[in-house]
């Protein structure tokens, strides 16, 4: 566990000391705020609807940010040759993957924390509960965690960060849109596709202020499977 913390701390420091981290934060915050202003605040709505809209829009930006944050996690190590430092150290491949993932998750959490001014405005000027805001952010963190884990897996597959982000993006889009296959298949397959969808079924309760255990388990399962796959890829590279 000590190695996980060490790697996570180093990686987080790298995010905060290089331009790419700040660029991601700036772009994501800017688009999030503009979209919130243009869509969330347009027309007359109840404050709960506005908050709901905020989390809906933010979930898209969170997924995008997670994929962008994750693209360098393992691909850059291989590209720059620093992976040999990790490979030759008494650190297990799972610890490398976890350390990288947690650093990305911490950075994502910082990004989400910086968006708090928007629901804070709704909270101050409207009639929403703190629980609604908390459940929305829990949902954002979970969907971000799943997307980040998928991105970590994509980053493990390729030496190029561009290719990594394309692979990760494709996997995320596939999970986002698989609910459409439910319309052209029959049960039980249609139920499977509906249940697998990254956003459609599992995020909406969070944005409405509801927390269901099944949705938490879903996102944690996606996260676990993706990180497990990333670890296996790292292990396989030693044999090549």
């Amino acid at each position: 566990m000590k190695s996980v913390v060490l790697i996570a701390r180093r990686e987080l420091a790298a995010y905060l000391s290089t331009l790419s981290g700040y660029v991601i934060i700036a772009v994501v915050l800017a688009i999030d705020a503009l979209m919130f202003n243009a869509i969330g605040l347009a027309g007359s709505k109840r404050s709960a609807e506005v908050l709901n809209q905020f989390f809906y829009l933010s979930s898209g930006m969170t997924i995008t940010a997670a994929v962008l944050i994750s693209m360098r996690l393992l691909a850059e190590e291989r590209q720059s040759g620093t992976i040999s430092l990790l490979y030759s150290s008494p650190v297990r491949d799972g610890e490398i993957v976890l350390g990288k993932f947690f650093s990305g998750l911490a950075f994502l959490a910082i990004l989400l924390a910086l968006t708090a001014f928007m629901p804070a405005l709704i909270f101050v000027n409207g009639k929403v509960s703190f629980g609604h805001i908390a459940s929305g952010y829990l949902g954002l963190l979970l969907i971000g965690s799943a997307a980040l884990a998928i991105g970590t897996f994509g980053s493990a597959l390729s030496k190029s960060q561009i290719v990594a982000v394309i692979i990760s993006g494709c996997m995320v889009v596939a999970l986002l849109t698989c609910w459409m296959l439910a319309h052209v298949t029959e049960r039980p397959l249609s139920d499977v596709f509906t249940a697998m969808a990254l956003h459609n079924q599992h995020f909406q309760p969070f944005q409405a202020g509801l927390v269901h255990l099944r949705d938490i388990v879903y996102y944690l399962a996606i996260t676990y499977v993706a990180l497990f796959a990333a670890t296996r890829v790292l292990e396989a590279r030693r044999w090549r």
Partner: protein, 310 residues
């Protein structure tokens, strides 16, 4: 300390190394020599537990690299051909990170960093960002990261790459200081450095070991007769003709001619020296020096690798 038996590594269908067999005792300094693509880096990466072998057995301190890589990695310091440096970190911060990653307690890391910096003359760069370092400093930092946790086994792939002559001399002194307390494996193209630094040599060609032993043993194997060097006053033709006429002389060549002195290298048994002296005197050649000379490592290496290629 290290036993390697029938070590083989395939990349797809291509065998990078095949059936390597060698042993390395504790405290030895071993030089890996070979042309580009010979299999040196692959061998070092397997010993450094970065790669796993396709077949064969490698044990380090009685531990198998396939079954116990985690334990082995605690005992080794590995420098790959490109130093694994994080550009955005400071020198001190990077070495502290590496020390802790390799098992040094956080409370002891700073002390270990200072020792490694002192050994590699990096003390003044402790607070500098790695991206601002010159190539020579980056190379020294690469060696420092391999040393920082004081490992029993050091595996250094091209440690002198990019170093200036003064830095190479310092590196040589460092290797001498580390000898005995550490087992060191060095891969290098700089044959003169290998010659001066290493106890034994392993020469790899096309994935196989073509020779192993001390430089003297390899020279013996390559011809046995050795060389005799004479410094004479030019012109050299009469000296060369006189030497070639001696029975038992295999070859005569003028090595250099500078400042009124010509050096002639004669491949002949040492016991022919009296005859050589008489022949040169009879030819009215002024002799300044006569000495036995060993086969140069460069020619040993070229002969072995060309022989295998043929």
């Amino acid at each position: 300390m290290i036993q390697v038996q029938a070590l083989t590594k395939y990349y797809g269908d291509h065998a990078a190394i095949r059936n390597l067999d060698f042993n390395i005792e504790r405290g030895e300094v071993i030089g890996f020599l070979g042309l580009n693509g010979a299999g040196k880096t692959t061998t070092l990466k397997i010993l450094g537990c970065v790669l796993l072998p396709t077949s064969g057995q490698v044990t380090i301190d009685g531990l198998n690299v396939v079954e116990n890589p985690h334990e082995i990695r605690k005992r080794i310091g590995f420098l790959p051909d490109v130093p694994p440096l994080y550009e955005e970190m400071t020198v001190g911060g990077y070495l502290s990170f590496v020390a802790q990653l390799r098992g040094v307690a956080a409370s002891a890391a700073r002390e270990r960093v200072l020792v490694a910096e002192e050994q590699m003359a990096l003390r003044e760069t402790d607070a500098e960002v790695i991206s601002s370092l010159s190539h020579g400093f980056r190379q020294r930092l690469g060696v420092a990261q391999a040393l920082v946790h004081n490992p029993a086994l050091l595996i250094l792939d091209e440690p002198n790459s990019g170093l200036d002559p003064a830095q190479i001399v310092e590196m040589r002194a460092l290797m001498r200081n580390l000898r005995g307390a550490h087992t060191i494996l060095i891969s290098s193209h700089i044959l003169s450095e290998i010659s001066q630094t290493c106890d034994r040599l392993l020469i790899i060609q096309d994935g196989e070991i073509v020779a192993q032993g001390t430089e003297g043993e390899l020279a013996q194997r390559m011809g046995g007769t050795g060389f005799i060097e004479v410094d004479v006053r030019p012109p050299t033709q009469s000296a060369v003709n006189a030497l070639k006429a001696i029975a038992g002389v295999e070859s005569v060549g003028v090595e250099s001619e500078r400042d009124g002195v010509a050096t002639i290298r004669i491949r002949a048994p040492a016991e022919l020296r009296p005859k050589i002296t008489r022949a040169l005197v009879a030819a009215d050649v002024d002799v300044y020096r006569m000495d036995r000379a060993a086969e140069k490592l460069e020619s040993i290496f070229l002969k072995l690798t060309r022989k295998e290629a043929a």
